[in-house]
Symmetry: C2
Subunit: 286 residues, 2 copies
């Protein structure tokens, strides 16, 4: 049931992304599509659709916002992988964008995805202007200097210095948490509800997601994980595992997953998919 629904959401998202981008010609669109279709898990856009559906919202609007979030997530990965940033050759088991298209095109295709996220929302057939503006505000606050980009800067600074638990938590709240929270908030907005309604859920989910990533960097299988393992150790990075040990990190992961699930009481049976999603992420292998 959960797997079926998850596949349905992912299918909707992929179809919409293809509709938005497949007819466009030229190198820049080719490079954008390469990373956008490289087998991402679509967690963020799935979250938007699921939150929207749990509240009985406008699925067409949610789909548009969901795809914008996925484009922004993808652009951040392209820029993050650049030689001047993390210098990664492999992402989702494939050569990274700059390996295939060169650095200049990788920079521009990241820029173009951030830009197109906004364009695609603006050209969607959504009548409610206020909802559109609210959605854009949520998206671009989350992805900006106070959110995701701020987290990336903190991450760079953390590479040259030891950081404490509090700083690590803030770093991840910004770097991955902000976009995950925005994804859930967009589901609420597309249902005309308070954007903060899923905040607890999304914060715990985002934290659990990051801890799982830190664990997979050590215990993961490079083939399944799709990116190099032991990279944190190589880069002497502070992670949940270095701070709390493997057992400690696994304990916090369980707790945060439970916190996410507990926050869904208000939805009753309509929270079933979101509950299953948290459990699914707890065990993910990639």
């Amino acid at each position: 049931m959960f797997r079926e629904k998850l596949g349905e959401y992912i299918n909707k998202i992929d179809t919409h992304l293809h509709t938005l981008l497949d007819s466009k010609e030229g190198l820049i669109y080719e490079a954008m599509r390469y990373s956008l279709y490289a087998g991402g898990k679509r967690i963020r856009p799935v979250l938007t659709l699921a939150c929207c559906e749990a509240l009985g919202g406008d699925m067409e609007a949610a789909l548009s916002y969901a795809c914008a979030i996925e484009m922004i997530h993808t652009y951040s990965l392209i820029h993050d992988d650049l030689p001047c940033m993390d210098n990664d050759d492999l992402r989702r088991g494939k050569p990274t964008n700059h390996i295939v298209y060169g650095e200049a095109t990788a920079v521009l295709s990241g820029d173009a995805l951030l830009n197109y996220a906004c364009e695609s929302v603006l050209t969607a057939d959504i009548k409610d202007s206020k909802m559109q503006l609210d959605a854009l505000k949520i998206i671009y606050t989350a992805s900006g200097a106070e959110g995701m980009i701020g987290g990336q800067i903190m991450d760079m600074e953390a590479e040259v210095t030891q950081i404490d638990a509090e700083t690590l938590s803030l770093l991840h709240k910004k770097k991955t948490g902000a976009l995950i929270c925005a994804s859930a908030a967009l589901g609420a907005v597309s249902a005309g509800k308070d954007p903060a309604i899923f905040e607890k859920y999304a914060l715990s989910l985002g934290l659990a997601f990051q801890i799982r990533d830190d664990i997979l960097d050590i215990e993961g299988d490079v083939e399944t994980f799709g990116k190099p393992i032991l990279s944190d150790e190589k880069n002497s990075k502070t992670t949940y595992v270095t701070l709390y040990g493997m057992d400690g990190a696994k304990e916090i992961l369980k707790e945060e997953t439970q916190n996410a699930i507990d926050s869904l009481h208000f939805l009753g049976t309509k929270g079933e998919f979101l509950k299953e999603l948290a459990l699914y992420l707890l065990d993910r292998k990639n």
Copy 2:
């Protein structure tokens, strides 16, 4: 009179940019401000304000859109100057962003400016939701893969191959023309008028602007121009001067300036500043 008015517009723009950014702390904002305050000519945002005022529009809205355009223009320069792109050390007479802050921060501060352009429009106190959405659509269509970024990709491709006059014209229409046209269109939108009302003016102005740039690359003084001269020749670039010769390029520059001025008849005396602006750009030294 013209100089006074120009100074007044620039002052408004600078004040608004400072209001938006000066209170923000952290490395990313420092890097954003460095390039945003590096002495740009503010041609694009001035155009927005002047077009708005010529039509009696909402100057507060226009100011918000104008600053968004300037942020996008600035981010494009930061990314353009990167080692993997044009690899320029000098811009507006100062070390480029990546020379001062390093490549990673330069990439991120460019991203953050593109992102903040959207955020700043969304958080501006503008009541008219439809006008906001129209403005954002104009901005992000112009700056995206069909506009400015598309032009940058064309520019990269043009570096490794000889291009003809038609391709050069399309390249500049996208790379610099799109944002200049958007700047004028935003002035019209903030006055509730047809965004295309200044299209002829802006197209001619954009073309004239580019030709003047090509001429300055040869005849300019490095101190006044603020960036290296003879860089086009060094990079074997096709320019208006290589295609039409210096005299031919100067002739087209004059013609396009006249075309821009002629298109303003419908404004009567209210077109005076825009006319002077075209003449000012005809003779600019930087």
